[in-house]
């Protein structure tokens, strides 16, 4: 947001003044046309597939299966969405959706909070071993997910944690390196005076964290919560591995096509289910886009 304001502050004419004998009006206009054409072509590349999914979800099976293809449904089949929610079995659609939400909360809430704590620890303390530990933490971002998941599966199976929700809580309590990194970058930018003032007012470290740092960490809390929600909501692999089929999350349930009693695939219903499944992810993104724009780049710039 701020960077955009800054970019627009310079009067628009200032650049062309210093340009050598500027291109004529026509070529400038041609340039604009080129620019917008390219932008719109890419817009189509990114958005058409989304539209095609949504449109197809509104079709009848006959319209879906006809050739030459039918672009728009003759009558928009709102019923598909009703059926998508009511006709899923083992687990039912609401059940799977609730499980997705529950796991997202079970993992996401502790994850964001512990990451904030750890980020504060790294950002606002001087202690022996700090830099070494911070390097260790960053190095963990490089470790392939599966190299951890496979043995974790074996260990958790030994501990009887497979087919339970405990793994999500444990991962949450252990914080995430990437979030810790974001929090650390954010908290490192706070003025020292703020901390000193809090200390003079009688705050200990814990109180300083909760009363001074957390209330001023809105954007980064929002970004981490959104990333965490999206990660959990869209996660397909972990629930497949760690839970029974009956405990499928919505992401897992939506990976297979719905079938009718004869075993035929019901694609349009499946797609309606998929569209409903995407809505929370897109809402979360819409709520947090401005914070993402603000925060995400710093992860690369100050690395």
């Amino acid at each position: 947001m701020t960077s955009m304001v800054k970019a627009n502050r310079i009067p628009t004419g200032s650049r062309s003044v210093v340009r050598r004998a500027g291109p004529g009006v026509w070529s400038k206009r041609a340039g604009r046309v080129m620019l917008y054409t390219l932008l719109v072509v890419f817009l189509a590349f990114f958005m058409l597939p989304m539209f095609w999914l949504v449109i197809t979800a509104f079709k009848t099976p006959v319209e879906y299966g006809s050739w030459p293809i039918v672009i728009l449904p003759q009558r928009w089949q709102w019923k598909n969405f009703h059926d998508a929610v009511t006709r899923l079995r083992n687990p039912t659609y609401p059940n799977a959706a609730l499980r997705s939400l529950g796991l997202a909360a079970l993992n996401g809430i502790p994850d964001v909070l512990t990451s904030a704590l750890v980020g504060f620890g790294f950002a606002r303390h001087r202690a022996p071993g700090r830099n070494l530990l911070f390097t260790c933490m960053l190095a963990m971002i490089m470790v392939p997910g599966l190299i951890r998941t496979i043995p974790t599966f074996v260990i958790f199976a030994r501990l009887g944690l497979i087919n339970t929700y405990w793994p999500w809580l444990l991962w949450g309590l252990g914080s995430s390196p990437y979030f810790v990194f974001l929090f650390r970058q954010y908290f490192a930018g706070f003025p020292k005076e703020l901390e000193d003032a809090a200390e003079i007012d009688g705050c200990n470290r814990w109180a300083t964290f909760w009363r001074i740092f957390i209330p001023n960490a809105g954007p980064i809390l929002a970004v981490c919560s959104i990333f965490s929600f999206q990660g959990n909501w869209g996660d397909f692999f972990t629930p497949v591995i760690f839970l029974k089929r009956r405990q499928a999350t919505l992401a897992v349930a939506m990976a297979d096509a719905y079938t009718d009693p004869m075993g035929n695939q019901m694609i349009t219903l499946t797609l309606a289910g998929v569209v409903l499944f995407l809505i929370p992810a897109i809402i979360a993104f819409a709520l947090g886009y401005r914070y993402i724009k603000e925060v995400a780049p710093t992860s690369g710039l100050k690395g």
């Binding site: 960077s3 299966g65 001087r126 190299i147 309590l173 397909f236 710039l301």
Partner: protein, 325 residues
Amino acid sequence: MTAVAQASLAQGRQRKRARNSRAKRETLSFYLFISPWIFGFVFLEVIPLLVGLASSLTNFSGLFDPKTLKWVGAANYVRAFQDPDAVWGLQRTGVYTAFTVPMGLLLAFFLAVLLSQKVRARGFFGVCYYIPGVVPIVGSSWIWRLLMDKNFGLVNAAVSAIWPGRAINWLSSYPMQVLWVLSLWAGIGGSVVIFLAALQSVPRELQEAALIDGAGSFQEFRYVTAPLVTPVIFYQFVTGIIGSLQTAIAPILLAGVKVGGIPPRGSYTYMVHVIRQNFSLSRFGYAAALVWLLFVLILALTLVVFRTQRYWVFYEFEQEGGKAK
């Protein structure tokens, strides 16, 4: 005099002690604050890694049966090099990474440059480019299965308009190409937003100065703006490589097979092979060896990429011990 000296000495000691105890308290507080991460690091990272390393040296198949569980030394690692499917998978992963990472960065950077011009509705374009990135993989694989379907797909509809009667079976004949398109479609938007923010944070004064010194706008971009965003490109490059080398879920879902199943040959990536060894064939020991090999490869590649930094990445502030640029 001695009394004064003693007094000041005592005072100094006291102050030192106070400073010491303050430092101690700060250290204690530090370790308390990071204790969640230490818990996670030890129990959810290091121990699993070591268990994985240990099991990669055994014939572990998921059963803790002392009669069958055997130490096999490096046999699993040797086997990996002789396993044609593992080699094939690695080659496919290489093909995937070598295309999507540079191509994704190039397109994202290009789009960010376009959007950093005076563009109306910049925010709108940015949001629309980003949206595919928030679609979970289960959704995006459905979308591309739909578009690339042999009989009812939109892409084949376009193909048959140009070339009547032609129906290409994209998903089974060109699975790698579909995978490329999917990953570009889903991955570019996030990078565009990051690049755009980086481009907009380049100080205007520098750009103006270059123009006043007689640089053309292309030269200004080449010698001022572009170098200043190389750290961001570098970061995206490294994370892109690390992510791409682990690709497994997209090929599985695009093919519509179960986890542990076999997608078409063309998109049979290394991690697909690993998952199959582990979860369908219960070769835990062997799968652990395969992932460790990939880890070593990622580590080596990352180090190489880090070493190339000095040739093309520009840091505004001197890095310690670095030469002036």
